[in-house]
Symmetry: C2
Subunit: 258 residues, 2 copies
């Protein structure tokens, strides 16, 4: 008889507010043998993750918390997709080793994912890559979580789409490289490290901007982009200096389409 398969679960833990945790996510964290703790992100994020585990994991005995030391990404590499792909493989090496070493037959382990595992997060891709290699076998499931887009729209009390309208989700990199996407009226921008909204300054758009969404440091600005861009620039600079990192998400809404 084949040994029972290991199980891995990618758990969306929300965009920063611990109260974004779903009942399913809490159940998943209490259900596994091991919680893998990725040692890569900033100290702030590690502390926030630990706070989630501490608050919501009540099983006795608790799951083992196992650190996984991840490689650093080469952020100076010029070929972006190749660099990200290489980094993904290096992460797969580290995770594969940890899953193989820490989970016995039939045991289960969780990876915590900020926001939702489906949006600009590589957890699912890394797990797919390990499974494709076939050396460490496991089944996996995904628990959805509140994304930063949803934290943004809730904080601004707006809908993402307009009546009968479409929405595009893109990255700061794509917006900066290609400009305003043809035909877009409502554009969500994620992973923007360098104020790509400035490339839309000449468009007739309103911006709904947020950073550190769902946390006590949350920053929100809304208004015509041309009027509030300088304020957002200033807030980003100050916050980045204070916190050492910034994670912002925003909606650009064309006034031309109204």
């Amino acid at each position: 008889m084949a040994p029972e398969l290991r199980r891995v679960v990618a758990v969306g833990v929300g965009a920063g507010d611990p109260e974004h945790m779903t009942v399913a996510a809490i159940r998943a964290l209490n259900d596994v043998n091991v919680i893998f703790e990725l040692k890569r992100t900033t100290a702030d994020l590690t502390a926030a993750r630990e706070a989630i585990v501490q608050r919501f994991v009540q099983r006795i005995p608790p799951p083992r918390v196992v650190p996984v030391h991840e490689p650093h990404r080469d952020r100076r590499a010029s070929a972006y997709t190749q660099a990200v792909s290489d980094w993904r493989s290096a992460r797969a090496d580290a995770w594969e080793q940890a899953i193989g070493a820490e989970l016995g037959a039939g045991e289960s382990g969780a990876f915590l994912v900020w926001g939702d595992p489906s949006l600009y997060d590589s957890t699912i891709a890394v797990l797919d890559e390990i499974r494709a290699r076939g050396r460490v076998r496991f089944d996996f499931t995904v628990v959805p979580g509140i994304s930063s887009i949803q934290a943004l729209t809730a904080a601004h009390r707006i809908a993402l789409n307009r009546l009968a309208g479409a929405v595009q989700i893109t990255t700061g990199r794509l917006l900066a490289a290609n400009g305003w996407p043809q035909g877009a009226t409502d554009l969500v921008v994620m992973l923007d490290g360098r104020g790509a909204y400035r490339s839309a300054l000449t468009e007739p758009v309103d911006i709904y901007w947020g950073a550190y969404l769902g946390t006590p440091d949350e920053l929100l600005v809304a208004g015509p982009l041309a009027e509030v861009a300088a304020e957002i620039d200033r807030l980003r600079e100050t916050a980045r200096e204070r916190n050492g990192w910034i994670m912002d998400t925003y909606l650009l809404r064309s006034r031309a389409a109204e």
Copy 2:
């Protein structure tokens, strides 16, 4: 001194699975004086909403549950946006009356929203309209919820975006009317009542399809659209006959972009 403002909260309750409920949503439902129960949707959905209240509202005494009888939308109207806009105003009439009659000064009431209030839901727009009228004054907040898109990607264990790529979210109506959007590689379709994926049959796309996501009736199909479209047609027809309604969401992923 001005009387204390009423408070209304739009609570995202997830895409069907009661375990999508967040800690914040549970807190909100236990915190209000009144839960407004919209009497419009199918019997199934009303029962599911009642099950959420029954399971998660534990405060004693519990909030009052107040029915709000909503108008029916004229689904035969040819001018779609006008019909939806008229319907929205008629809903605002009913809600305005209920908020004014049921909430005293400083009291609070909740509206439950399937999925997330930011996506193809008119709760926020209806509340905005009532506030703009200025006859019944209240403040409002939004609690985000797991959307059907997230339930879809979690069930299929896929990411929404591809590496460094963008995503479009659109409606079945727009896809059927305008065909495949120029430049789109990854297209999410919501609110599709009539199999709009068939208008993409000649495109080289894979479909990740789901219906009744997060519920015991959940249906999932994935594969090349041209190969699985007939199976989806058949499943939709059978399910609609059995349940009296269908709510499906899907991702169309272009193979040309790989």
